[in-house]
């Protein structure tokens, strides 16, 4: 199997203090750039707000680098850690 089964799905993970506007902010950036949200879940783990979002960049108007920059900026504004990673990282680690 080649690692380059190049799907265009990415995982956005958000960690930090819960506050108004997190989902709106993240999904706003995705919608603006035509990135489709496939799945979204959130919980509080050990007192830390955690949101995980799976998105499809197939029709995206921007590349992963630019998305990462935009999310990083948003993270700074909201005081949160936002990480965007290609889904292969999780597929390789958790699926055989």
């Amino acid at each position: 199997m080649s690692a380059a089964s190049r799907g265009n799905r990415v995982i956005v993970s958000v960690l930090g203090q819960d506050r108004v506007g997190i989902i709106a902010g993240v999904s706003g950036i995705l919608a603006e750039n035509n990135i489709n949200i496939l799945d979204i879940s959130q919980t509080t783990m050990q007192g830390i707000f955690t949101m995980i979002l799976i998105a499809d960049m197939e029709q995206s108007r921007i590349n992963l680098d630019t998305l990462q920059e935009k999310m990083q900026e948003l993270g700074k504004t909201l005081g949160l850690k936002i990480v965007v990673q290609h889904e292969d990282v999780f597929r390789f680690m958790h699926r055989i």
Binding site: I11, M45, T50, Q68, Q85, V89, H94
Partner: protein
């Protein structure tokens, strides 16, 4: 799709537990660069390295961003220079080292390995010339790493070469005295050296390797330590082994992913993943701390060898399942200066040179990044190398010595290298002489274990 827990596990490993890819190393064959004219040979070497490794760093950085996994080092290993330079009419091989250094700088890698010779059964004129060039090469270049293989299970131990390496290590330390003997941190003496090791300072591109290849080395002592801590003090050792195995599987999968992807983007074959637990001086990224989390008051206490044997074996079992091709050194590293827990154990008197030697029977690689007093004799260093080589040869495993006789320093002083090489307390050595034994020279024959056909 993935569960929240799975995603968080991966994110936590990277963000908090120092999971990273320690190195992607491009192996490059320089066999076609030999030339009677040393200047022509050097030109060919420079051109070939800069051509093949041109995009190595760019691709590495691209993968880091895409997958969100840090790739700490991008490096290059080349055919042992003794083989490439031998055809050249040159008095010494310093210019070859300089060429490697320049090529490494040009493509932006921090280390290039392969200023090496394989002399386990004897020296050719090219090998002798390379050995003689090592001290100056390491003193006057920044990125070049040297290694010499002095023994194999099949050939036995070349004690003449062992004796010579004692002298070379002393000279290298003296030429870099202003930097605490830094040159010695870039010089490894091996027994049973692997030809596809991606880790410095001992990496070179073996003669059985293809034209160009990508090998990766993963790291993740912090992740394993956290998993052991989470298991709690009541978990028995079988349970711990199982937990470490599963963790090692996950860590190694990252190496497999990055290695395959890097190879495919650079359009070269993917070689191996090295299943090593490589510590860094960062807090929480320590192999010693895993052993302590397993229940030892300090690394080096009685029981440390057993604990390390369990750890090393579990890492290999988990890792072997995670990768299609495993190679290199593949074992837990115990470099003193690069591991905060090891340094602490030495400072507290828990960990000695003798215990470290015992540990090398059950793990990779050997006496690694150990500082000893500056007045340690070349014969004593040679004898330390001989002991390690004997362990490797008899047990059919790789062993190595990377030792720094720190100029002007005595027991309790520190050497400071900074960065990944860290800092090390100067450790006592046995002060009784092995001089007459070393001066006998000759070869220690291959052990009976070598007769396997």
């Amino acid at each position: 799709m993935f569960t929240l827990q799975e995603i968080m596990e991966t994110v936590t490993m990277i963000q908090e537990e120092h999971l990273d890819i320690r190195t992607i190393t491009m192996g490059i064959s320089l066999r076609d660069c030999a030339d009677a004219d040393p200047k022509a040979a050097c030109r060919k070497i420079y051109d070939k390295i800069t051509r093949l490794a041109d995009r190595l760093v760019t691709v590495g950085e691209e993968l880091e961003r895409e997958y969100g996994v840090p790739i700490v080092n991008k490096r290059i290993s080349v055919t042992p220079i003794s083989l490439v330079a031998e055809a050249a009419r040159a008095e010494d091989y310093f210019d070859f080292a300089l060429t490697l250094d320049r090529a490494a700088a040009a493509v932006g890698v921090n280390f290039i390995g392969g200023f090496s010779a394989l002399v386990h059964k004897g020296l050719t004129p090219g090998d002798a010339c390379l050995l003689a060039s090592i001290p100056r090469a390491l003193a006057e270049t920044e990125r070049v790493c040297a290694s010499v293989n002095v023994a194999t299970t099949k050939a036995g131990i070349n004690m003449d070469a062992v004796g010579r390496m004692g002298e070379i290590i002393k000279q290298t330390a003296e030429l870099t005295a202003d930097r605490d003997g830094l040159g010695c941190a870039k010089l490894v003496v091996f027994a049973n050296v692997p030809e596809d090791n991606p880790f410095m300072a001992g990496a070179f591109h073996g003669v059985g390797e293809p034209e160009c290849v990508i090998n990766t080395g993963v790291s993740g002592p912090g992740v394993v330590k956290r998993a052991v801590e989470k298991a709690g003090p009541a978990a028995d050792l079988g349970t711990l082994a199982e937990i470490i195995k599963k963790t090692a599987f996950k860590i190694t999968r990252m190496g497999e992913l990055i290695g395959r992807e890097a190879a495919s983007r650079l359009q070269v074959p993917f070689g191996i993943v090295d299943l090593s637990l490589a510590p860094t001086p960062a807090v929480g990224d320590s192999v010693a701390e895993i052993l302590e989390a397993m229940g030892l008051e300090r690394c080096g206490a009685h029981g440390t060898t057993a604990a390390l044997a369990l750890l090393n074996d579990a890492v290999k079992k988990g890792g072997a399942m995670a990768s299609s091709y495993v190679g290199g050194l593949s074992g837990a590293f115990i470099p003193v200066s690069e591991d905060a827990g090891m340094i602490r154990a030495v400072e507290k008197g828990a960990l000695t040179l003798e215990k470290l030697e015992a540990l090398t029977c059950v793990c990779s690689v050997g006496l690694d990044m150990i500082a000893v007093p500056g007045n340690t004799s070349a014969e004593t260093i040679a004898a330390i190398i001989a002991d390690e080589a004997a362990i490797g040869v008899v047990n059919q495993k790789t062993t190595a010595v990377r030792i720094i006789p720190a100029p002007g320093k005595k027991i309790g002083d520190y050497v400071e290298f900074g960065g990944l090489l860290g800092r090390a307390p100067v450790m006592p050595v046995n002060t009784f002489s092995a001089g007459s034994f070393i001066h006998r020279g000759g070869r220690i024959p291959a052990p009976i274990q070598s007769l396997r056909n």
